[in-house]
Symmetry: C2
Subunit: 637 residues, 2 copies
């Protein structure tokens, strides 16, 4: 056995592992825990998983995705390269996500403990997990009910619980705990569907130690908030990249991976991320794992499928059927999440195949479901989810935007990580200004930067209404291999020793993405026979939404041209909604009602979606009457 193993060393990470000959470098990097970008999930088509071979031999399949210079410098695509002997690898900056490095900054970014909503939502604090301290009267010949009945009776004297349950393990523990604890005990109660479960019984008074976590299982980012269930405060937050990225940036890629290799790996990846985040949080806050009694998750339907190891394959095949949209509360340990072994995992309800629990959470957190005025929620990610409604009705749809705004499928695109251009401006005198995350030398462009770049190039007349780069408009426009591109940052100023550019193809990808979302908005508007002016408020949500310049988003035609004060960025409403449900059973019940009462329109069944999409493929739109303020600005210039 040992003879067939070879050493793979990752230089900058100082990691060396033994692997079998013949596996790909991408697989080796996953095993070593070294993050390498990968969008296509190993199909050799995205060209993101570049590595540099510093020493040793490999067998690489030919690819058109590497430049001649890169090949000379030892660049390979990790997924197309097999390990044949001991090898030393360097992961170049553009292939690194730096998930671990950025963890604290990301936590800050996703912290958003209170969303800055105008109409704040209030619920009665009634957490899904509660601890109650009981001083039980010892039994006597006159009062000789069983320990189990004794417990239930004592609980019911303190709390009105019509339907109690408990598992055999808790019942088995009662005689010892009641007597060792001298009839002073703490019971942990958890909401379990229509019943309340006595999850745990402990000796003495442990009510001051009652914690839970809320998790936003994002396609690219996983965020965990640690909540003190006694004070209702968020104590700490932590975030990381979803390691499922190694199996594909896009949800569909991951589903295909799951179909070929089984769902287990995808569950394991996300569960390990969640466990790592929880471990970090509890050790930083001196909390025992055993005192974390629940996990409440929000995420898109596919992410929840991966987490629960539900077969996701029918999500991507017409008629796009999820296995489950209302997962029951289960033991967190059943999927491998490490908290108290009897702790519960709640998954917020999804709405439909492409409208997930994150949208339910968003509706809950923004209070859209109880709004008097007509309100729109736009949650932008790989899919743009659009909700319109108020306290009387709600409709939603999901527009397949593609991952362009997440930096994928765009030449120098990247996720919102250190070195990403997040803001971009062309000043009146034609000077280019930009800022990067972490103020580092730029590596690429994240979603908010792409929106800025698109809007600025358009307003500066460098890109025309049809999205074409004008080769005569600016000296930074050039032609490479027959394709036009705009140099955003010259190589001398970047960390990747190459120019950061936006290509004609990139612009087309981004226009398709914004057109998909705007078409979705329009179809919903048409179905409802209303106009944009009827929308009194737009909530813009998502990790993306934190940095988005709303003026530029309108300029681009991503969101409708309505009064700017009606548009509000609400940050990560997915985790906020999850926390609300955790802290209030009423909120959880409302989440169920939201997911049941909302009408889902599958855009595929609407013939005019394609027309709307085609019309939206202009900047800001074919029908300029839809963007009066933008047209006014254009005329001024």
């Amino acid at each position: 056995m040992k003879e067939n193993k070879v050493k793979v060393t990752f230089l900058s990470q100082d990691e060396t592992i033994l692997v079998e000959k013949g596996i790909t470098l991408l697989e080796a990097s996953i095993r070593a825990g070294v993050y390498v970008n990968s969008i296509c999930g190993g199909d050799g088509i995205c060209g993101k998983c570049k590595l540099i071979i510093k020493e040793g031999d490999v067998t690489a399949r030919p690819t058109t995705l590497l430049k001649r210079d890169e090949i000379k410098e030892g660049y390979v695509l990790a997924c197309q390269t097999e390990v044949t002997g001991d090898v030393v690898i360097e992961v170049p900056p553009e292939s690194r996500a730096k998930g671990k490095i950025l963890i604290d900054k990301d936590a800050q970014r996703f912290r958003a403990l209170y969303a800055p909503m105008k109409g704040q939502v209030f619920f009665k604090y009634d957490p899904l997990i509660q601890k109650i301290y009981l001083e039980v009267s010892p039994p006597s010949l006159q009062d000789n009910v069983s320990d189990h009945v004794h417990l239930y009776r004592s609980i019911k004297r303190k709390k009105n619980i019509p339907n109690m349950q408990s598992g055999l393990k808790v019942i088995r523990s009662l005689p010892y705990i009641l007597r060792n604890g001298d009839w002073k005990i703490t019971v942990t109660l958890g909401v379990r569907g229509g019943t309340i479960e006595a999850i745990q019984v402990e000796e003495g008074n442990t009510t001051d130690q009652n914690f839970a976590v809320a998790v936003d299982v994002g396609t690219s980012t996983v965020v965990v908030h640690l909540v003190n269930l006694n004070t209702f405060e968020t104590m700490d937050a932590e975030a990381t990249y979803n390691s499922q990225m190694s199996y594909g940036d896009e949800v569909t890629r991951r589903i295909i991976y799951a179909e070929l290799k089984g769902e287990e790996k995808l569950r394991e990846a996300i569960v390990e991320d969640i466990n790592n985040l929880i471990t970090t949080l509890i050790s930083r806050n001196n909390i025992r794992l055993n005192d974390v009694m629940a996990v409440v998750c929000a995420g898109n339907t596919a992410m929840i499928h991966f987490l629960l190891e539900l077969d996701p394959s029918n999500l991507r095949k017409e008629p796009f059927i999820p296995v489950c949209t209302y997962p029951p509360p289960i033991r967190a340990s059943e999927v491998g999440i490490k908290i108290n072994p009897r702790g519960l995992l709640y998954s917020l309800p999804s709405i439909a195949s492409w409208i997930g629990a994150d949208v339910t959470a968003g509706i809950l957190a923004t209070g859209l479901y109880q709004a008097d005025e007509l309100t729109m929620l736009i949650d932008i990610g790989t899919n743009g989810e659009i909700v319109i409604g108020n306290k009387d009705w709600m409709v939603c749809c999901s527009a397949s935007a593609g991952p362009a705004f997440e930096g994928s499928g765009v030449k120098n695109g990247m996720r919102a990580a250190e070195g990403a251009i997040e803001k971009f401006k062309i000043s009146e005198d034609g000077k280019i200004q930009y800022t990067t995350i972490g103020e580092a030398d730029p590596i690429g462009i994240c979603g908010s930067g792409l929106v800025d770049i698109m809007a600025e190039l358009f307003m500066a007349g460098i890109v025309d209404r049809s999205g074409k780069l004008n080769p005569d408009a600016n000296e930074r426009v050039r032609k490479v291999n027959g394709e036009l591109e705009f140099i955003l940052v010259p190589s001398s100023q970047t960390a990747i020793k190459d120019d950061i550019v936006i290509t004609q193809a990139d612009i087309e990808s981004l226009i398709r993405a914004k057109a998909a979302i705007f078409a979705g908005i329009n179809v919903l508007i048409n179905i409802l026979s209303i106009g944009f002016s009827d929308i009194k408020r737009i909530y813009l949500a998502g990790g993306f939404g934190n940095y988005l310049n709303k003026e530029n988003a309108i300029t681009l035609g991503l969101i409708p041209d309505i009064e700017r004060e009606k548009v509000q960025f609400v940050g990560n409403t997915s985790i906020l909604g999850a926390k609300m449900a955790l802290l209030s059973k009423d909120a959880l019940d409302i989440a169920y009602k939201i997911s049941k009462n909302i009408t889902y329109y599958d855009l595929i069944t609407y013939a005019d979606y394609m027309n709307e999409f085609m019309s939206a493929k202009f900047l800001p739109h074919t029908d300029v009457g839809k963007f009066p303020t933008i047209m006014k600005k254009l005329k001024r210039t």
Copy 2:
């Protein structure tokens, strides 16, 4: 290791095992699966675990429980004898329970599919487990709910179920089963507290295969009935001895064993018995284990504790507190019972520490809870449980009779097994007539035989009212080692090559047992301020009850002297009640009501119990006015 092992061979069972030097022969016999009687659980005080050493050496502690002749023949007490080298053992007839041999006959005996109750109880058939066949419409873009919602909706169209649940495993299986089964599926629904669980989803129509078992977990006998949940018929029955007997005949002995060695062994023993019986039943009836979806158990409180591995130790310490009297339905696999892995185990509710689910079942099966007239149920075993009541109220108590009527603590006593004297009569001319179970040569005396013997000796004037053997009354009365005894069967006619006798000490044990039960009856009567004549019906239940001569039971003063036609033997009401609950959720609900609504009197707290007990220690009673028909008979003789 191997050097320290020695061979123990059990001659007649043709079993040889390797054991470590130094273990007792009792332990060796348990390991070999060879049944050896043991009442005290290995304390060397009951003298029941006699074995004969045929070859080899052992180290035996001295004992007064073996006769000089026996010691000469190589007899030892298994629990007092350590294995020091290879040894060949014979288990003499009196130490064998013959559980395996008698299994079919026992099944017949305990079959009692319908109890011969006068007022038959009827319930609506509504089994705890139901299979329904669904032809689900495939999903479409217009009807694109999740598989899970689709399933629930289809179920709810067929059945009104307000509160449904299912586990992650079933939800995970849905996409495959729905599609592989071409949307034709069978769902198994199980009652789970206040909710209905979809336990299993199968492809196609499997509704014709839906089975369950009812189990009477008796202290000495385990009875299993196999029930077809479609036809509501009992298809077959099987019984065996409770292998926990190796840990003590008496419940208290087993509790002490559990305290010292842990509850696990006791659970394993009974679970293995149940599994063996189920395996026998399903193979004989060509049923797949996977089609057995539930087990419903009745048994005394301690037996249910052992089955569920609940700590029984507080049952035997004042104030005698059970861990649990209403065990929730759990997966049968959680305690190791082998049926469908997702099948459920229901334990009928117990009433109090010494009033178990078997009494609840008895009240259910006899319909006592809905009787217009005042009715008494007497369930005789190691404890005599007494219930008095009608449709308006019920009270109960448990009298610690001791195991005498089960053949334990009586010199030639034995369980109701082949070779046991079950009927006994002294004819007018003084001739002795008896019958044995299986018509075999007598080995000992079982409970019904002991009642007959006591009554007959009393009526014949051989035993006086105080229970003393009269040495001049009959030539069969003799004195051995200073104690009087009556020769029932001379050694020439027995299978044990020794006389079968009843000793003065035996008679005293039996009188104490009957006095305990009658005192219990009397205390209840006194508490209620009623007379025996107010009791309009007496149901006599228990394995014991199947053979009991009711006239002799009255003669002995075991049960009150009321009109004979009011007394009815109802057989094994424990299993009958369990089956009723299995076949009707209404019956299960009533079982819960019964256990909640009954008032339990702990006899220990009643000062006059001791007086009643002392008064009952005469034949039939100190107060002869309580037994007018018996006194009339006595005067006639």
